[in-house]
């Protein structure tokens, strides 16, 4: 009896001792100078990371903790399992799956806000060291003396990519028929070859980096087969700014991407690293009410600075020609984008805005059309032809309507921005002004807008472009994503713009 009780007590104390030993934090990696949150707790973020990225991620984490002081806790696992964890537990700040197919899944389910590309993985043929079977082409894979393993198109992205690319060339079914096994993951395929259980398999080149006794053969048929690795910010995160800070670090060309390259991944592009990047955006002043709030929210969420310069597009173009280089440029009209085409090779048309005749509320001068602006004694304000897109379009419209000669004598003022015309109308120093509908959006109480009918070129199209030489192309494109968000589109519409850009399926 006593002995039994002694044993029970002993097991109890053993339990207490073991639990105590476990609850003491082990020699975990603590940054040298831990960064603290506002409430004095140690700042930390949680990343759900595909196990295949572990080696490189550990290196990045170490460097980041040293440099920035925020602790990074990383959960490794299979991408699909991590995705389920995020779904169920709603924890975690960042998600880095093995390839972007999982991020697409997460986006569909609405778990991911931003995604930032990291690296590209190409499909190659893995063979034993020295390629003893002399595999050079797809035909070699089908040989009887070559034991081929492939990854399952249902469970592994490499399988799906391979199947899609080869099916398009109608080469898939033959290849599939000549496999000795189909494996669930890309790693199992490489392991088979490393151990010698198979002679060849189609895998991602990045996976082979750690295998010393496996070589790769690049095959032309698989040229198109590649996947992107990208990092997603979990929508439910309570600290998007901290999460994005680390995300920027991982995807910076001179930080995380450097390490990714060392670990055998193909990287291209990427932003330069800066603790607080400063993005400069030039935008036509008509766009200010439409984008200002969105940019401010973006600054807050990302923890970056966006220096915006609003002005007449002609003036902005002149500044750029004089050597100023903004990261992004949002022009009032295509014409003013074309003038700096060498700096901004890929503009996207975002919205349009029509030119209207603005008059005092109630239209006391009874102005009905462009023709009426040529009436004797009217004081008309228009945009300056050289300084802004509005002026340039106004002149085109006058020409098109055949009223240029008649109206110009009445023009008492030419301004670089539409806001100035609105102000002058308000003070009563003008009777009418030709400006954008969006200029009148904030002044509907004391202005009326009269449509200009039947002239096609009276509509301006606003293109957005990121500078070819910008050090922050990714950051700029994330800002653009925000500008294209549904909320932002609503702002555009309420400011008198029409939205033009079709949602691009990424």
């Amino acid at each position: 009896m006593n002995r039994t009780l002694i044993w029970i007590a002993a097991s109890f104390f053993a339990l207490i001792g073991l639990v105590y030993a476990m609850s003491r934090p082990g020699g975990s990696t603590v940054p040298r100078q831990p960064k603290l949150n506002a409430d004095g707790s140690e700042a930390s973020i949680m990343l759900f990371c595909a196990a295949s990225n572990r080696a490189v991620m550990e290196a990045i984490k170490e460097r980041y903790e040293d440099e920035c002081g925020t602790r990074v806790d990383i959960q490794y696992g299979p991408s699909q399992t991590l995705l389920s964890s995020i779904e169920v537990a709603g924890q975690g700040d960042l998600f880095l799956p093995a390839d972007d197919s999982y991020l697409a899944m997460a986006e569909e389910k609405g778990f991911v806000a931003e995604t930032i590309p990291i690296a590209k993985m190409r499909a190659v043929v893995a063979v034993a060291k020295g390629n003893p079977k002399g595999i050079k082409s797809l035909a070699d894979l089908k040989r009887d003396d070559v034991r081929l393993v492939l990854a399952n198109p249902e469970t592994a992205a490499i399988g799906k990519v391979t199947k899609d690319v080869l099916s398009a060339q109608s080469k898939w079914s033959d290849l599939e028929a000549s496999t000795v096994a189909v494996r669930a993951t890309v790693n199992e395929v490489v392991s088979d070859i490393a151990i010698g259980a198979a002679d060849a398999g189609i895998v991602y080149d990045a996976v082979l980096h750690t295998f010393e006794d496996v070589d790769q053969v690049v095959i032309d048929d698989l040229k198109e087969a590649s996947s992107t690795i990208a990092l997603g910010v979990v929508k439910s995160t309570e600290q998007p700014t901290t999460a994005l800070h680390f995300a920027r670090y991982v995807t910076a060309q001179d930080r995380g991407l450097e390490l990714y390259e060392q670990y055998g991944f193909g990287v291209e592009g990427g932003d330069q690293w800066a603790e607080t990047p400063e993005l400069s955006v030039f935008a036509g002043s008509m766009l200010r009410p439409a984008i200002e709030d969105t940019i401010r929210e973006f600054e807050e969420r990302e923890g970056v600075k966006v220096n915006r310069v609003y002005n007449g597009c002609g003036i902005l173009v002149a500044q750029m020609k004089a050597g100023q280089k903004p990261d992004a440029y949002f022009a009032c009209d295509l014409e003013f984008m074309n003038q700096v085409h060498d700096l901004f090779p890929e503009p996207v048309s975002v919205s349009n805005n029509e030119l209207v005749i603005l008059v005092q509320r109630g239209n006391p001068k009874n102005i009905r059309s462009l023709k009426d602006l040529s009436r004797e004694g009217l004081r008309v304000g228009i945009g300056h032809e050289k300084q802004c897109a509005m002026g340039w379009i106004t002149q085109n419209t006058f020409r098109e309507g055949g009223v240029q000669q008649e109206i110009m004598p009445n023009v008492t003022v030419q301004t670089p921005t539409g806001d100035m015309l609105v102000n002058q109308l308000q003070t009563g120093s003008l009777d009418a002004a030709v400006a954008y509908l969006s200029n009148a959006a904030g002044a509907a109480d004391f202005l009326d807008a009269i449509r200009i009918e039947g002239i096609e070129c009276s509509t301006a199209i606003q293109p957005w472009a990121v500078a070819k030489e910008s050090p922050y192309p990714q950051l700029a494109s994330r800002l653009f994503e925000r500008i294209c968000s549904v909320e932002s589109q609503d702002t555009f519409k309420s400011e008198g713009f029409s939205w033009q850009l079709e949602p691009a399926g990424r």
Binding site: A51, D73, Y76, V190, I195
Partner: protein, 305 residues
């Protein structure tokens, strides 16, 4: 599945050699010498067949280990063991498995006893529920734990409730122990139940007629008899916890230096293509398991005296 597992459990509990006085009765007496010669001849095939079949399995396992050993080199092994992450994982593995095993035993003894001794309504249901962790796919068990801790009930949630009291479970060490315990305990209960089934309840009845309460009878008479079964249950629970990996991966994650146990280390090393390291860690686990099994075996025999 549970069938074979309980069989495995009984095999565990009857590993000690039978006492010698039983084998003596087989020894031939001079009276029937010719008979014994016949018997000796007929015994040879018996032993050959029996040991032949047994040897195949033993050989298979030995060959597996030999192949692993040939695959790694001593330097790989040394490299693996000198990594601080792996040392931390080893420490966590030993402690968490031990905690899970002790907890399993604590639950398994009363539960096994009740299931074995008493007939009560819905006993079949309880019996089935105990088996669920054994048949549930490991990843699903982990996911279920995750769902349980994060299920919002109104605006109450178990994880948040515990977290506010400074005892977060998910992605921390308690999650590791809980994941191991939920599977290990099911096996321990099976083992204990079989153990109590084999102990004659009459000894308890006798103790009670001599004035013991039920509790006293259980502590003084039944438990000492169930000693070997308890050692076996602990062994099984510990071994199961050691190999447990699916639920831990989902429920506790695999954070280096924090919730990484050796089984997840193996998985992680495999997924970055570090086969050498994975095999080295696996061998380390085998070595650990052997040591622990031996310690428990010694405990078992030590208690016999």
């Amino acid at each position: 599945m549970s069938q074979s597992d309980s069989a495995e459990a009984t095999a565990f509990s009857s590993t000690t050699p039978t006492p010698s006085h039983q084998t003596k009765s087989v020894a031939a007496t001079p009276d029937d010498a010719p008979k014994s010669r016949v018997r000796k001849r007929s015994d040879a095939p018996f032993f050959i067949v029996m040991s032949g079949i047994s040897a195949t399995f033993i050989l298979l396992i030995v060959l597996l280990l030999v192949a692993d050993l040939r695959f790694t080199s001593l330097s790989d092994f040394r490299d693996a063991l000198s990594k601080p992450e792996i040392i931390a994982a080893t420490r966590l593995t030993i402690t968490s498995c031990s905690v899970a095993a002790i907890l399993s035993l604590w639950v398994a003894v009363p539960l096994g006893y009740l299931l074995s001794r008493y007939r009560f309504p819905l006993r079949w249901l309880i019996d089935t529920i105990v088996d669920i962790p054994i048949v549930l796919p490991p990843l699903v068990l982990g996911l279920s734990l995750l769902i349980l801790f994060h299920q919002p009930i109104g605006d109450w949630q178990l994880e948040r409730f515990l977290g506010d009291r400074g005892f977060s479970v998910t992605y921390r060490w308690p999650a590791v122990v809980l994941a191991q315990f939920s599977v290990a305990c099911a096996f321990a209960v099976r083992t204990m139940r079989v153990t109590f089934d084999q102990i004659d309840p009459r000894t308890e009845d006798v103790a009670r007629t001599l004035g013991c309460t039920r509790g006293q009878a259980f502590l003084t008479v039944t438990l000492p008899q169930a000693r070997r079964g308890m050692i076996a249950a602990t062994t099984i629970a510990w071994a199961r916890s050691l190999g447990e990996f699916g639920p831990i991966l989902v429920f506790a994650g695999a954070t280096r230096m924090r919730t990484e146990v050796l089984s997840t280390t193996v998985f992680l090393e495999l997924s970055v293509g570090e086969l050498d390291s994975a095999v080295a860690v696996s061998l380390l686990m085998v070595a650990m398991a052997i040591v622990v099994l031996l310690i428990l075996r010694l405990l078992g025999t030590g208690l016999n005296t």
